[in-house]
Amino acid sequence: MPETLQFDVNGQLHELAASPTARLVDVLRNHLNLTGTKEGCGTGQCGACTVLLDGRPVTSCMVFAGDAVGRKITTIEGLAPPGKLHPLQQAFVDHGAVQCGFCTPGMILTAKALLDEHPSPTDEQIRHALAGNLCRCTGYRKIHDAIKAYARSSGGRRKRGGKR
């Protein structure tokens, strides 16, 4: 039965009537109109619907809305202000890591979680982090390259910042 639930999405609090057993992906897409989160398989296998829950990637088709209450939800819309790209998004654009674009929001959020934890990830860390996000278009190489390139450039920025 619908209840009044409060969701913290991209730093904004939303109060809405939803069933705690609704899927998080439906709350985001249908109630909040955040359609940047794409739904592929609906069974937690393809990773297209990945969002961050307290900074950790989850497939939002497999999360009950009730379980997301009181936690910080980050969707692709929350990565950069409208009209702007986060440098990680820019790296995906620049390195040809985007083709059809359906896996892309989930892929970028998975990469974001990895990079937040490991700012300079190894190749193996990148491969393992992305293993739950299917991409049929790219063969993954250019996605991998984009993440490496972003890590190198942001790592550089952080080092320079550290000296100041």
């Binding site: 897409r29 359609t35 940047g36 989160t37 794409k38 739904e39 592929g40 398989c41 609906g42 069974t43 296998q45 393809c46 297209a48 969707t75 692709i76 819309e77 990565l79 950069a80 790209l85 998004q89 820019q90 995906f92 654009v93 620049d94 390195h95 040809g96 985007v98 083709q99 059809c100 674009g101 359906f102 896996c103 892309t104 929001p105 970028i108 990148i126 491969r127 393992h128 982090a129 992305l130 293993a131 739950g132 996000n133 299917l134 991409c135 049929r136 278009c137 790219t138 063969g139 993954y140 190489r141 250019k142 996605i143 991998h144």
Partner: protein, 736 residues
């Protein structure tokens, strides 16, 4: 010739919308007053429909319309009915559809429809299907002696009997490839709405071919095309899986009945079972060769499983099974065979990956037996200009040997090391395979408007699957001599764009790209006519390029923006147009790949370490995008080689209906890709470009199979090469 815009690595123009998630795919669209559809599907692979009762479903809450096969005109002999008529021919075939206020109501009502089936014997395998007395999927057969033949394609050249008799050795083997899903992530999705004022129906759909959709829908719905509008949406992956009609007729008919917009997003399960996957094949080859390895004669009997309805690519398989090689004698018979499997459709490169797996594996067996280096064997027999290909036409260029050599050189083939890896149970191996493909321009058209500020707008009706819009912008920028940033590209729909064939066959940049180039040239001619007066010169002496317009010998010049302003002001508008239905020669690209694999001899697990992909691309309009096409194709090929396969139960129903159990390559599986682009710039496409989207998948499975043989000496003739199949071939587990 030096280029300023084509040949450059530039990010896709539509990438920002995709990285922000703002690109609106079909599932993201909400229409006012919209309702939802659900489909009831057959649990039987083959059964007569005795009775369908919808009265209970119709009375359920929220239900607005229920339709069955009787609501469409009879599909006739081989037509695909939008909903099953009289009998179901595969497990998952759509039987009825419902529109209701909410999705949950539509699903509940679909489940409440009562269907009485009388099960019929199931034909599950192509070899059984063609036996005399086999149950018939359709009453008709295209062969007098065999039942269940949907189509036969034959190619004959010379005399195979004489050729085989004169050969030093004859090699014979049978190869099998599985049913596979194309692997697109975005489910099929369609919406339809009807204008109550005039009865006009608009359909929004994830398709590769909006104009083909409109003509098919017009036939099925009995409407003139002018009363239908098909709007092709951004496509979240297709790979041939969105060529054909899917649920569009159902949503259109439901919208017509309930007078409200209807939306249907197909589930992953249903997408696997019932939206035209790629069929299996059994390929029996016999090849005669001379002592020095020269190919003489090829005999092939190919059985393509088309499942419940026509759609298998037996003709394409027949035309490509020779591989990129010269054969004096050919005798190819290629059948499309009905079974009670899903209705087969297209997959990236149609039947080319099937037949090249077969021929390139056989070539490797020949090389091993004759003790000839596999690369040298291929170079010796590679197609040259003028050699017959595709069942008769002449190969336009001598390029095959160059591509094979390029792959071998980049991989460092001559100093390859294979065999056991010390201290492990692993063995390494190398394999090479080549492939060829044919891209026809097909119906291609474009409109190019020059705006008065010197920007340019390109409009086509081609579905932009990935990089074609960016290529069009580069082509237009090159033609006018302006920066790519001054060009915008739009995808029109069936109301707003000129007719275009579908986004298949690697044809968009090749054919439609050439139409864009010609439309730009047309616009420049129109501008020149106006500027001729301004400059006091003849129109053919006006040069437009490098950001300026000038008379050939005059000192006077205008910036492109000034020229555009004058020309559009004088003429009212500058709109260049071009349409073509053919380019001569068609693009016949060759690709060759070298795979390096590591096989665990204990577990049968195969890992692809490196894949060198050489491909004849004519000119890479956008090398970054072309690399992406090739790597994506090769990755698709890795899945085809090692893990992807439909598994059917004895009842003919699909057991692994979703991404969970249909194993596509993940980020853990991608090898080191090394892409080598061969650019001769001689092709008939724009600036010499060829089709690039499919050839990268064609040799991959064979290259991997050959590398596995090199590693462990076991020849797998059936895809995918799962650990179980490999261990069996290695004699480590017993055969069934």
């Amino acid at each position: 010739m030096t280029f300023t815009a084509v040949g450059k690595r530039i990010p896709l123009l539509d990438a920002p919308g995709k990285v922000t998630g703002s690109t609106q795919f079909g599932a993201d669209i909400k229409l006012p007053n919209m309702v939802f559809a659900a489909v009831l599907r057959s649990p039987h692979a083959h059964a007569r429909i005795v009775r369908v009762r919808t009265d209970r479903a119709e009375k359920m809450p929220g239900v607005l319309a229920v339709i069955t096969g009787k609501d469409f005109a009879p599909a006739g002999g081989e037509g695909v009915p939008p909903l099953a008529q009289e009998k179901v021919r595969y497990c998952g075939e759509a039987v009825a559809a419902v529109a209701a206020e909410r999705i949950s109501q539509a699903v509940a009502a679909a489940e409440a429809i009562e269907v009485e089936y009388a099960p019929l014997p199931v034909v599950a395998d192509v070899r059984d299907a063609i036996k005399r007395g086999a149950p018939r999927v359709h009453a008709e057969s295209e062969d007098k002696t065999m039942p269940n033949i949907a189509d036969v394609a034959t190619i004959k050249r010379g005399s195979v009997a004489k050729g085989l008799a004169a050969s030093y050795r004859v090699f014979e083997s049978t190869f099998e490839t599985p049913w596979v899903h194309q692997g697109f992530l975005e489910p099929h999705v369609s919406l339809a709405s009807i204008d109550p004022g005039n009865g006009r129906i608009t359909i929004w759909t994830s398709t590769q071919a909006q104009f083909n959709q409109r003509s098919e829908l017009a036939r099925i719905l009995g409407l003139p095309m002018s009363r239908l509008r098909v709007i092709g949406l951004p496509v979240g992956g297709a790979f041939g899986g969105k060529n054909a009609l899917c649920v569009e007729p159902m949503v259109a008919e439901l919208a017509r009945r309930c007078g409200r917009p209807v939306k249907l997003v197909v589930s992953n399960k249903d997408d696997f079972k019932a939206t035209r996957p790629c069929g299996a094949a059994v390929m029996e080859l016999k090849a005669g060769v001379k002592r020095d390895g020269t190919f003489v004669a090829l005999h092939a009997r190919l059985l393509f499983d088309t499942g419940a309805y026509p759609g298998a690519q037996n003709g394409n398989g027949a035309s490509l099974v020779q591989g990129p090689y010269r054969w004096a004698h050919l005798d190819i018979r290629s059948y499309s065979v009905y079974t009670n499997k899903p209705s087969a459709g297209a997959r990236r490169a149609l039947a080319a990956p099937h037949v090249h797996f077969a021929i390139e594996s056989l070539l490797d067996m020949i090389a091993a037996e004759l003790k000839v280096d596999p690369v040298r064997l291929r170079l010796k027999n590679a197609l040259r200009a003028g050699d017959p290909v595709l069942g008769g036409m002449g190969m336009p260029f001598t390029v095959a040997a160059k591509v094979v050599s390029a792959a071998a050189e980049r991989a460092n083939w001559s100093s390859r090391k294979s065999g056991p890896v010390k201290g492990t149970s692993n063995s390494r191996g190398w394999g090479i395979a080549a492939g060829h493909w044919a891209t026809w321009a097909g119906g291609s058209s474009a409109t190019v408007s020059v705006n008065e500020d010197g920007t340019v707008s390109v409009l086509t009706g081609a579905i932009n699957l990935t990089g074609s819009h960016t290529s069009f912008a580069q082509i237009a920028a090159e033609s006018f001599g302006i920066p790519v940033s001054r060009v915008s590209v739009y995808q029109g729909d069936t109301d707003t764009a000129p007719r275009n064939d579908g986004s298949w066959n690697s044809r968009i940049t090749f054919g439609v790209g050439e139409a864009v180039r010609r439309a730009c040239e047309d616009a420049k001619r129109q501008m020149a006519e106006v500027l001729a007066e301004e400059f006091g010169a003849r129109p053919e002496r006006i040069e437009i390029g490098g950001g300026f317009a000038r008379a050939a010998k005059g000192a006077k010049k205008l910036t492109f923006a000034e020229a555009a302003d004058r020309a559009t002001d004088y003429r009212g508008a500058i709109v260049g147009r071009a349409a073509l239905s053919d380019l001569d020669p068609p693009s016949i690209p060759v690709s060759a790949q070298v795979a390096e694999v590591e096989v665990d001899r204990e577990t049968g697990q195969v890992r692809v370490l490196r894949l060198v992909c050489a491909q004849d691309v004519g000119l890479a309009i956008n090398p970054m995008s072309v690399e992406g096409q090739i790597e994506g194709s090769a990755s698709h090929g890795i899945g085809y080689a090692l893990s992807e396969e439909y598994v059917f139960g004895s009842d003919g129903c699909l057991l692994n209906d979703g991404f969970r159990d249909f194993r596509m390559p993940t980020a853990l599986d991608h090898p080191e890709f090394d892409v080598v682009l061969i650019e001769d710039r001689k092709d008939s496409g724009p600036y010499g470009a060829k089709g690039v989207g499919e050839p990268g998948l064609i040799p991959t499975a064979a290259a991997i199979a050959n590398a596995i043989y090199d590693a462990v000496g076991a020849r797998c003739r059936q895809l995918p090469i799962t650990p179980e199949r490999l261990l069996r071939e290695m004699g480590r587990v017993s055969r069934r």
